[in-house]
Symmetry: C2
Subunit: 329 residues, 2 copies
């Protein structure tokens, strides 16, 4: 009875709000809004890696654990730095012994929403992705077996892995390490950006320029590839940005048709994950918009259009995940 | 009137507690306790660098800022890693291009209580210390002027420095950077360890073995050098630990009498700041206690004594500072 009354009150309140607050009125851009989806609070969870608190907490420890690198000072968090939008804000990743890699570090924020991982999509999911940087010569440069051996040396990790994988006799193994890292990363999402609030009905969450940018983003066809909740279609598209010779997905598949193709990157938090493009050679968002117009759409955007689209892209910065740096053993 | 009544009640309660809870009774070790001091919540603040929230917050940003290193990926927090007791848990600091330095990274925890900084005391205070690692070739390898130039490139830092140093026309300079870093570090203290609680009257905060360890620590003379709130006398003592050729303070002063001398390190949080000694070659606390007995006291401790002193040293782990990783521009 009380419940029913509350429901009725809520409906009454809802109607009252719809009538009395202009912000809830439609701004006439419904057709544009329909091309987008707000970011959910969690990405899809794979059936074979259920998202348990034990795995997430263990994955967080592993993410900040530098001793699974050969130098003992590089962790996932070195390049996916939470102080820097969970990326590194330098052109190309810098890892073991100061070696500079070939590509710009993608943010791990919202990476659970992507259909494949790495610029060239060579990993199908976060589980497949997680161990790559540990073993890569230019990143953490660590033999996986040796990394696992180091972890086994800590009582705390023996206990944590056992708690996260209670059915495994020897829970400290590569698959479980990858599962834990993937689980932690699936919690690093940035919902409730101004754009998400706008899509959910708060017509004042975007100002006029930002809305003009959204319209330009749709009308010019950016949305063809930057679609879905994470603003990535998950497909591979050919692009050669200034200064890049990178053959992209071709390196993975050997298919001529994959030359220079990269998986569409997310645009979520793009304002705080500079610099841009696979080679990180593009410093500003304005430049990036201009280059994408030329390379992908064959268009020279006018300055005003660039400014509007850039303003729109700034509305894709969401709430950063709350977390505490773990105390490692 | 109410206040007076509360006071009377508190006194009555206090007496009741003293009578009924044996923990408040004296354990007969008052003479030993008198040799120590609990850690205050804040270290001394220098008259020319008052501890303002603006400086502390700016200093925190600078502490986590990797772009004041030449590679763009090394920050103070790389070696003074909050996940690892604000140290690095490797034998010797590993910095720019994977170069390995000469000495073990000291924790920044409670460093504001030390009478001088660095193993050889070559900096008088945190202000003098702060810029050293930025410019050191084997650490962040960055020219200071270039670091300041990078900082100037960010509007956020222009604003933050102006707010922290409102009287300065050009607030982004080396002195202010050092002051801000020092201010942040003065907040990184670990009060309220079991030993501090014991010193404040909670007789149950230490168990019997830990108390035996405290007694051994005093009776064997460890307390001669490891004294004061941070368990360091601030003086320089000659020691050559296994594997070390390091001439210590001699390198700073050129005085023959300073050969192999190092400033007494803090023992606060020593259980979580392994490995030990100036060259980081000592992995366990038990080994470290044994070596100190031999080198400094000319004594071969028995196993039981080592275990007891080690148990006591574990009670020096305090409450880790709460902080949030800052969002950098």
């Amino acid at each position: 009875m009380i419940r029913k009354r509350l429901l009725v009150s809520a409906i009454a309140l809802g109607s009252a709000l719809a009538v009395s607050i202009p912000a809830m009125a439609d701004d006439g851009l419904g057709d544009y809004r329909d091309r987008f989806e707000p970011l959910p609070y969690l990405p899809p969870i794979p059936a074979d890696n259920s998202l348990t608190p034990e795995k997430v907490e263990l994955g967080k420890m592993m993410f900040f654990e530098p001793r699974i690198s050969s130098s003992g000072v590089i962790s996932c968090a070195t390049c996916h730095n939470p102080a820097l939008g969970w990326s590194d804000r330098i052109p190309r990743a810098t890892g073991h012994d100061g070696q500079v890699g070939e590509r710009n570090t993608p943010t791990v924020l919202n990476s659970g929403f992507l259909d494949s991982q790495f610029w060239d999509g060579r990993a199908a999911d976060l589980e497949e992705q997680a161990l790559g940087p540990i073993e890569a010569d230019v990143e953490m440069a660590m033999d996986l077996d040796q990394a696992l051996k180091r972890l086994e040396g800590f009582d705390v990790y023996q206990r944590r892995f056992s708690e996260a994988y209670p059915d495994d006799e020897n829970p400290i193994n590569g698959d479980n390490l990858a599962q834990a890292l993937a689980s932690f990363q699936r919690t690093l999402n940035t919902p409730n950006s101004p754009f998400d609030r706008y899509l959910r009905g708060d017509m004042n969450a975007l100002d006029e320029q930002e809305k003009d940018g959204m319209v330009a983003f749709v009308d010019n066809g950016c949305v063809a590839c930057h679609s879905g909740p994470n603003l990535s279609d998950g497909n591979f598209h050919a692009i050669q940005v200034p200064g890049s010779e990178d053959e992209g997905r071709y390196v993975v598949t050997g298919e001529e048709s994959d030359k220079y193709k990269f998986r569409t990157p997310t645009l979520r938090n793009v304002a705080v994950t500079y610099p841009y493009m696979n080679n990180g050679a593009t410093e500003t968002l304005e430049e990036a918009v201009s280059i994408m117009g030329q390379e992908m759409l064959g268009r020279d955007f006018e300055d005003k259009e660039i400014d509007n689209i850039t303003a729109f892209l700034h509305t894709l910065t969401g709430e950063m995940p709350e977390f505490e740096v773990p105390a490692l053993p």
